[in-house]
Symmetry: C2
Subunit: 202 residues, 2 copies
């Protein structure tokens, strides 16, 4: 039955891929997960990542660093404490800086992760959803889907309070362009450090 024109890797069905726990796509070329173990490296390779955002203060594991070097993946680290007694202004600054990296298409495809892929990653993705104009309850529902019983009221409050002024500062330091209401929205921007001559080359 059927007409096969080309089938590659048909015998590789036994090479099972192991995504990290709490792995998911967030948007085109934006992914989230928990801290990947070496068993997930073959899966990560299929994503063809250009960058990783790591939201913990702990040094990146040696074997993960080796993987990144080998795959030519750039690491952006923002050291956010994992516990709830984190200082709010520091958290706000870190999330803002991480957001700027996250929406920069020059860093895509990009993976954001912390340790469990629940709280810190959930806060960043929640703020990103606000940037995308998602209603708060939808952003919360997504946060809770990943945090499960570990959901933290403080994180939800953080996402809710992450203000549009800060978001606009972020927006105004980049180019954020929609392709129009009926089209799929795409992020495009160049940051403030780019020289004028380079702008014309895009």
């Amino acid at each position: 039955m059927g007409m096969i024109v080309e089938v590659e890797n048909i015998d590789e069905d036994d090479d099972v891929l192991i995504p990290p726990p709490n792995f998911s796509m967030v948007e085109d070329c934006i992914y989230r997960s928990s801290l990947p173990k070496p068993s997930s490296f073959p899966f990560l390779q299929t994503l063809n990542l250009r960058s990783i955002i790591y939201l913990c203060p702990e040094p990146y594991p040696e074997e993960n660093l080796d993987f990144l070097k080998e795959q030519n993946i750039r690491l952006f680290q923002f050291g956010i404490e994992g516990k709830t007694e984190v200082s709010l202004p520091a958290l706000r600054d870190s999330i803002m800086e991480a957001l700027k990296v996250l929406v920069d298409v020059r860093n895509h495809p990009i993976l954001v992760h912390c340790k469990q892929g629940k709280h810190r990653t959930g806060c960043l993705v929640g703020c990103f959803r606000k940037l995308q104009n998602w209603c708060l309850s939808s952003a919360f529902e997504e946060y809770q889907r990943f945090a499960g019983v570990k959901s933290r009221a403080a994180d939800l409050t953080f996402i809710e309070r992450f203000d549009l002024v800060s978001l606009r500062q972020c927006l105004y330091s980049i180019i954020y362009q929609y392709q129009g209401a009926s089209k799929k929205r795409r992020l495009m921007y160049q940051d403030e450090n780019i020289q004028k001559p380079r702008l014309t080359s895009f």
Copy 2:
């Protein structure tokens, strides 16, 4: 601060978008959710959908049909009963047919949904993950993230037992091509009903 080259729709931040509950990206141009209410139609418009897979036997709601007609979105309906007493062979057949539609890039961007986006959608996505060579525990983890406390052992068993022979029948009736191990995997295929002359036009 910063240099703004182009910022569109900057004043539309108040047009809040409401994704349907349990909305998520599954893969490039593949989405999942619960049954969308009209309040989510503006959000769905941003996805630029070409097709929807609906996994319930109930007639598609009138207002949703109107939205699809207006947006020129094609509906594929596979009537799977929502309760657990569904016949296994019938379920297997429906999921197989839905899978063929799901992986067909000509139907992308595509949204798959049932009522809650938990069980029927979870089964389809779980089988799709097997097709992508995800290990079973990762497919289960994803199923459970959406099903939450409503997780059903019978669904997990269904996903586990959904056999590679059936999957290969599906594969062999289409073209399923990986772009190589180190690249992001993409689905490309044409089904058995396509006339030979049309193959050359792609």
